[in-house]
Amino acid sequence: MELKWFIDSWSPTEGIAFVSQREPCEDPWALERTQTFVLRAPDFVITPVDRSIAFGATRRNFQERFGLVESRQEYGFASLQYLTAFVRRIYLGGGPGSGGEGGGSPFNGNPDAGGDNGNEAPRESYGALLDLPESERLNGVRAQLDKSVFEGAAKILEQIQWSSRPGRRHLFSDRAPHGMGWLSHQYVRPNGVPKKVGSLNDAMFFFAADRTLVSRAPLTDVMPLLLATAVYFSNPPDYYFNGWRYHDNFEWWEWKASTTYAPYIVDWLPFDQLPPELEVILETWNAFDYDEQRTSSN
């Protein structure tokens, strides 16, 4: 029987975990000769270390072991890939903390719009998008961008006086942060997204961490936010800040979304599902606000 992978000690919000492949046991430190590895953000490359370092971590600010909620036993990961994905997504779910934004643009408009109100009957949900098989993901995201963003934008664009160049400029540069004004208004804060997500920056980590919490959210609401996030993070800033506003050509935007932004979204969304019990842990963790993730309530 193949041995499972266990977390010996870890710091969730730092993305550092000491792990080993072994039998489940009452006392992991009794297995002195077990090879121990460290995984670290940002790239989570596995590196061998002495077991004493993993033990020393628990004397500092690292959590000792990991078990499912209300379980009295540590959890064994079927593979190192699962373990790494879990540590990485918990890290992303911790976000940049409550000390202010590390970047990204705060949402414009009414901050109370949507958010936390997941009672609306779901239309086609974000969760369904994440269930697409690998071969269909890119085309799935492209199709959803068309449906959720560009069809809506086309309606807005029809109302614009195309002969008026200042009008077009206004449309792309002034109406909303970073020229995203032509997106539908829902991108501000779709239903189902907790209020801790207050910027494109938060949105990226939130969506990259969790696949169940926002599965209630209607896909047509989520896609504009994903597009805005992809636009924000996938453009080289020099080009972005200098050249953005002159690309006010709708066809160009559709092309760019299809060739650049859709693949970027596919790259970082958590399409690969972890075992359901781990997805539950991720969902719970991601639902905490930044302070709750960092300050014990005990």
Binding site: S11, P12, T13, E14, G15, I16, E26, D27, W29, A30, E32, A41, P42, D50, R51, S52, I53, F55, G56, A57, T58, R59, R60, N61, F62, Q63, E64, R65, F66, L68, E70, S71, R72, Q73, R88, Y91, L92, G94, P96, G97, S98, G99, G100, G102, G103, F205, A208, F233, S234, N235, P236, P237, D238, Y264, W268, Q293, R294, T295, S296, S297
Partner: protein, 318 residues
């Protein structure tokens, strides 16, 4: 084999192997006669080591180097070389800067189960060290100028001297995990033996213990050791001297925060790649942002941040 048999037949036999069997059970019985080591204090151990070192100058260099280590170990205040340090990641550092509340494992929120019992070995070590209540202690290490134990986080916080003496009164000459694994585990049956590996911080015992650690690391060199050589021995890769800080480590006790150029470089690489090509992974962007936030928080609170390389003595920049 034929030669061995022939020698045996002639009455010659090989000496017993001194090397311990690799598969010796962990629960070996306690030796009847404890090794001398535990009955000696740190000064006697140092003396014993010094007399056993026979360099080309009758052990003169060992004695001189030992005296130099003692001088560094005991210096405090503005002259301090050895500092109390601990490492933490960017997010924990930013949180610490904001709240002035550095948390140990007992104080941090738990992901997943809150009912996993502390492991037995950990409880055993707590008991051996006699730190009560253990929740009040914050584990640190001794270091000269470097960036500490980076496995625990990118940033190394060094505390001011001589104020550090008020909260850090004792330490262990090694990672306390060594107490529960071979070869020490079977020898740690009584508390006095554990106590004999402890020392009073910045006291003569500390100087003797550190001199032993350095001489063992740089043994037999008929050269005067430089501060860098000594620093490399005080904290070498994963091998460090443990210090116990009792009570909260307040922000105003911080001398400086150090980080390594390697991490600064990784940050620059991610940033410039994102700038040129875009498309960095979310984890890379988050890691970058957490470091930027930590730096900003340090600047706001007036905490000195230095980038130091290796032993931390040649290049130090803010």
């Amino acid at each position: 084999m034929i030669i061995k048999r022939l020698l045996a037949w002639l009455g010659f036999s090989e000496p017993e192997s001194c090397v311990a069997e690799a598969d010796e059970p962990l629960s070996a019985p306690l030796p009847h006669s404890p090794p001398d080591y535990f009955s000696l204090d740190w000064a006697q151990r140092k003396q014993k080591l010094l007399t056993s070192i026979d360099d080309s100058f009758l052990g003169g260099f060992a004695a001189a180097n030992s005296a130099e280590v003692a001088r560094l170990a005991l210096a405090d205040g503005e002259n301090a070389h050895v500092h109390v340090i601990f490492n933490l990641g960017a997010d924990a550092l930013a949180q610490y800067m904001r709240t002035d509340n550095y948390q140990n494992a007992y104080e941090r929120p738990v992901v997943g189960s809150k009912v996993l019992e502390p492991s037995k070995k950990r409880c055993t070590v707590d008991e051996m060290l006699g730190l009560k209540p253990v929740e009040n202690f914050y584990f640190c290490a001794a270091s000269i100028s470097g960036t500490g134990i980076r496995f625990y986080g990118d940033f190394c916080v060094a505390l001011k001297s001589p104020a550090d003496k008020a909260s850090v009164t004792q330490g262990l000459d090694r990672n306390s995990y060594d107490l529960v694994v071979p070869p020490l585990d079977v020898l740690m049956g009584c508390k006095s033996r554990v106590d004999s590996l402890k020392f009073r911080f910045r006291g003569p015992e500390f100087a003797d213990m550190l001199a032993i650690k350095v001489l063992q690391h740089q043994a037999m060199r008929p050269r005067r050791l430089t501060i860098g050589n000594i620093g490399d021995a005080v904290l070498s890769d994963e091998d460090y001297v443990e210090l116990f800080h009792e009570g909260k480590i307040r922000r105003d006790t911080i001398l400086e925060v150090r980080s390594h150029p390697e991490d600064e470089m990784t940050e620059t690489v991610i940033e410039s790649r994102q700038f040129r090509e875009g498309g960095s992974t979310p984890a890379q962007i988050l890691w970058l942002q957490q470091r930027q936030i930590a730096r900003r928080e340090m600047a706001e609170k007036g905490i000195v941040h230095r980038v130091v390389r290796g032993s931390g003595r040649v290049y130090r920049w803010s």
